[in-house]
Amino acid sequence: MPTTLENWNPGKAENRHPHVAYEEKERLFLEVKNDMRYSDFLYGCYECGICVATCPSARFYDFSPRVIAQSMAREDVERVYDIITEDIWNCAQCFSCVRCPRQNNPGGLVTILREVSLKNGLQETKDALQGYSRVIYKVMLKGNQVSPDMLQPDFFPDWGPWVTEFSANMQVWRKAIPMDSIRGVTDAAWRTDRKTLLELYTIWFESGNMEIIKELDESLYDLLTEVMQEELEEG
């Protein structure tokens, strides 16, 4: 609906997801709130801002751990829906925010929000994570997250100015600091011990992580499952 003088209400936040019923937003909100970790992650907020001050993401994105904590505390269902479909992917999950004097854990709230968004297969979550397929593939299959060639300043501004330097002279760095990489190239991660890898695969299956991947990206799930099961059978 276009904004007209009749329906314009400056006192009300813009409803950014009018096509989603309030009941659905509330259901997701309650799923987050009823998580068993919730009461340990959120006590009460002074709005002192220490979580924002320590947050690396807040420097680069429109992201505030304080707003997340306060929105949950106020049971602002609409705002929490904005957060679960958008904000949570700007968190680096570094947990700098846990120095909160009230012992809140905004990063932990983000963890719960992410899990709920994944379990419920939100389209925004799929979209947000699409670009991460390669990272997920590497983390889950190789046991390492980032290979050197992924260090591109445009994608990771929160990693600081050094990324430009590293990415520009990657080959020189590799020669200067030889690493035990899988194929001695920059597009692969560092080698993880085989026993550790097999343990990781077991954890992915047993902890329900593979179910989440299936909800997120079925072809990625098929690819990972095939390789992992083969390796596990080999032992």
Binding site: G11, K12, G44, Y46, V67, Q70
Partner: protein, 351 residues
């Protein structure tokens, strides 16, 4: 002529405690009280529970009053007022009127414990409509309802489900002239919010504030439990106006956390009114010729600033909220000091 008596003006918490302490230290007291009963503002305004230990206010005040009325060294005069004072430290002559009869009292020292009054929200600079909308009430109005365990919307007698507190009404406002913080309203609002959530478990309670000033143990005794256990919402931002929307109240302000203007409807709006000097404090200060600060409270602190019960006139001391916003603990602590200092000043003259 030198007198060993201490005259105490005011029968509230500070006056009562001063009287008890002077008597315990061996002095004689004449305590004059304007009303026909003791207990001061907590009694007159029907306070429910006190912030410390959640004690019943009537019970606590009755205890204080009994320790005075049952003491042979203390003479209490009801319906009494000071008319004039002359003399100096050690030998004051005070003209009073008690129950319509003029009397003269000799006193070696005087303790002024004339207290405060609650700010009248009719003078608020924002548009809160206290005198227009029955569902806009003050902390003191709510305190009376909490005491009877019957909180209703005055307009229709229904139980309110959405309740907002607005902080700093009459305090910290240059336009009104009260630039000071009234010290206790944050704690009282927090305490009342907890009581509301206990008495009306399905209610939503929000407190709109500029700064929360929950000093000392109010932090862990009131603020944290209110937020964490009773799920009271504290929102930083002052409400600019209260309007009528159907049979609800619409409050308008900024939600500073979310950086956006905000309008929400409420069933009941509670104005956290601050403290001003009572009419008695202003009158007594004037007729005794003791200095008042720009807000009308009695100037205290002495020459070095570290004498919280000294006034500008030797031999005359002040205790409690007559010298500025004060909670019960501080008022009672000052009362003890005023008692000790008044006896000391008499003994100095006698020596």
């Amino acid at each position: 002529m030198t007198s060993g008596k201490v005259l105490i003006i005011g029968g509230g918490p500070s006056g009562l405690e001063s009287a008890r302490c002077v008597a315990e230290l061996g002095g004689e007291v004449v305590l004059i009280e304007k009303r026909e009963r003791l207990g001061g503002t907590p009694d007159r305004e029907s306070y429910a529970k006190l912030t410390h230990h959640w004690r019943d206010a009537s019970e606590a005040m009755a205890e204080m009053a009994e320790s005075v009325t049952g003491n042979k060294k203390i003479e209490v005069k009801y319906s009494a007022e000071v008319k004039s004072i002359s003399g100096e430290a050690g030998s004051f002559q005070v003209q009073i009127e008690a129950g319509g009869i003029a009397e003269s009292i000799e006193a070696g020292a005087v303790i002024v414990a004339t207290g405060f009054q609650h700010f009248d929200p009719g003078r608020a600079t924002q548009y809160y409509n206290y005198y227009s909308f029955p569902d806009v009430i003050t902390l003191t109005d709510l305190e009376k309802m909490l005491k009877e365990n019957k909180v209703v919307r005055p307009s229709n007698g229904e139980t309110p489900k959405k309740i907002a507190f607005i902080q700093c009404v009459g305090s910290r406002d240059r336009q009104i002239g009260n630039e000071y913080c009234s010290k206790v309203c944050c704690g009282i609002a927090g305490k009342q919010a907890i009581e509301l959530r206990e008495q009306i478990p399905d209610s939503k309670v929000m407190i709109f504030y500029i700064d929360m000033r929950m000093y000392g143990y109010w932090e862990n005794e009131i603020y944290w439990p209110a937020q964490e256990k009773y799920k009271v919402n504290f929102v930083k931002g002052v409400i600019s106006e209260v309007l009528k929307k159907g049979d609800k109240l619409l409050i308008r302000g900024e939600d500073t956390t979310m950086s956006r203007p905000m309008e929400v409807t409420m069933d009941l709006v509670v104005l956290s009114v601050g403290m001003e000097p009572s009419a008695g404090t202003r009158a007594v200060a004037q007729l005794m010729g003791i200095q008042q600060n720009k807000y009308g409270f009695i100037e205290s602190g002495g020459a070095g600033g570290l004498d919280p019960v000294a006034t500008s006139r030797p031999g005359i001391f002040v205790a409690g909220a007559a010298s500025g916003p004060s909670d019960l603990d501080d008022s009672i602590a000052q009362a003890g000091l005023a008692a000790a200092r008044s006896l000391a000043s008499i003994r100095k003259v006698m020596a």
